[in-house]
Symmetry: C2
Subunit: 325 residues, 2 copies
Amino acid sequence: MTKKKPTILDVAQLANVSRTTVSRYLNQNYSKMSLATKLTIEQAIKQLNYQVNQSARALKTNRTHLIGLVMADVTNFYASLVFKGVADLFSSFNYQIIMLNSNEDALQEQKNISQLLQFQVDGLLIQPVTKNTPYYESITIPTVFIDRPLASSHLAQVVTDNYLKSQELAQKVVTFGYHQFIILHQKNSNSARDLRIQAINDVALQNNIKTTIFYTDDDLQHLLKLLIQSPKTAIFVLKGPDVLKTLAFFHAHNFNIPNNIGMATFDDWNWTNFTFPKIEKIQQDPTKIGFIAAKLLHQNITSPRLNSNSHIIVPSVLITGNSLK
Amino acid sequence: MTKKKPTILDVAQLANVSRTTVSRYLNQNYSKMSLATKLTIEQAIKQLNYQVNQSARALKTNRTHLIGLVMADVTNFYASLVFKGVADLFSSFNYQIIMLNSNEDALQEQKNISQLLQFQVDGLLIQPVTKNTPYYESITIPTVFIDRPLASSHLAQVVTDNYLKSQELAQKVVTFGYHQFIILHQKNSNSARDLRIQAINDVALQNNIKTTIFYTDDDLQHLLKLLIQSPKTAIFVLKGPDVLKTLAFFHAHNFNIPNNIGMATFDDWNWTNFTFPKIEKIQQDPTKIGFIAAKLLHQNITSPRLNSNSHIIVPSVLITGNSLK
DNA sequence: CTGAAAGCGCTAACAC
DNA sequence: GTGTTAGCGCTTTCAG
């Protein structure tokens, strides 16, 4: 327990070779090494239960094999799914992921990034909480932004097709003949959500449909006023978990979907797979977004300046439900 | 971009002091330092935008300020919540969390642990996928196990009161006069789940109630046979997300809860907050478990051999619903 | 109050 | 095919 960890020197001495040779073994430079020494070293390592010290290696090679993942809100299920994708990609290259929580706070995000830079991470994956591109552009290590589009074209980013798919969804809703749209979301805003709202609004305008924005943070009771004695209404719920909440609320107040109200939503996960009725939705694949972002980052780390400012759109899918009528 | 990062030496030269003095500044050893030099150094650091190199510091001090978090399944919402608790605690001590996914696979878990040891993490938090205590006991750095109880008393662990609370829940269900229990869970087993099942079984036995175990992995259709023309039945759903699935299924087959069937569940999150009806449940607090485990680990890191083998039980709460009748 | 210098464990020229 | 050696950036005695 208290005895020191074996170093490369211990292995070298036990195997009767030099540190260099052991180092070569560790880095798989077997090319110029007799099978005999290779086996001796292998044996010595096993015997001592030797493990390379990544700190030392990092100091020498200037590569930590650490990736920083800065998520806007880790308690959001979106974060787990992105993490999975990122971890899946990087685990095959023996990189480890340090995840931090910005908690939707810009200051915390900057602290997180600064911390990660001290740890000399080889790359950064950021779900940005702000649109503060000057700060983001000042980051000098390979970085890929996730989920929330940023205006600057200098910054590599992997996002989904928010505007177009939302437009498509809204247009489909229109075909059902709704005369009023209600958009339900949380006050806290971000660029991805803004694009969705904008698309819905644009479609509404083109079709002379009245749109009201409503915050789930507020008491849903207020919503009732909007619904009673109003024209045929469709509700867009911008966050998966809010669907459950809203459904329960409607159920309690004897509103039926799709008979009294139409509903459509955006789903990062399978929230609506088990609801009644099935909700018309746009489904995105956060794990895929994470995986692709990680892949891009890995490229930017291993061969810099190649696609370092790619913008990748991971398409989402429109899934039919029976929540419109 | 390509220019080298400033080192402590650059700061020292700019501030006209020695590396030692800068190092003292960095480590807040202000006690024996003139205010003048302190300010000069502060200024130089700002000017160069200097950041300490943690790899170098780690090599020297033998402390990485890295914590390894090995979770059985990161796509499970439980993992996010635990992570939050762990991150909340350790962020105040400037430790970073490296999270890895064992994917419910023992081999993967061992690889993960081995990787983390190479990175010289200062401590380990493990949600174990096996009961392989010999291997776990061979780990020589501070380690705390989470969620799934391990037999060995040598190992520090933070878990919830699975057996007792499950017993309490089952006993409550019994008072409603159910004559049959069905336990719904996933085939994949672990010690925490086993304890819950055992408690329910024990209560059933004591009350001459027939219990059937049913896997959600299988087609739920089979479940119907068990329900039609059978005595008054209560269903225990062992995983929050499965509640949605099961409710939707019952709804589709015109079974009403609580009129036709009773239901009780275990909830890591607010899965059942928005269901109809509200489900009788045991609610645990994974974030709290993570926080407490992290606290214990931090203690074990900073003052070893004090509580290094504590067993902490974080109580869960029985929450009344209207799913029993 | 400050500095000189050794050394943490490893890698990579360069030598042989 | 293998070894010598310098040095990555930092902390820490020890000396002044």
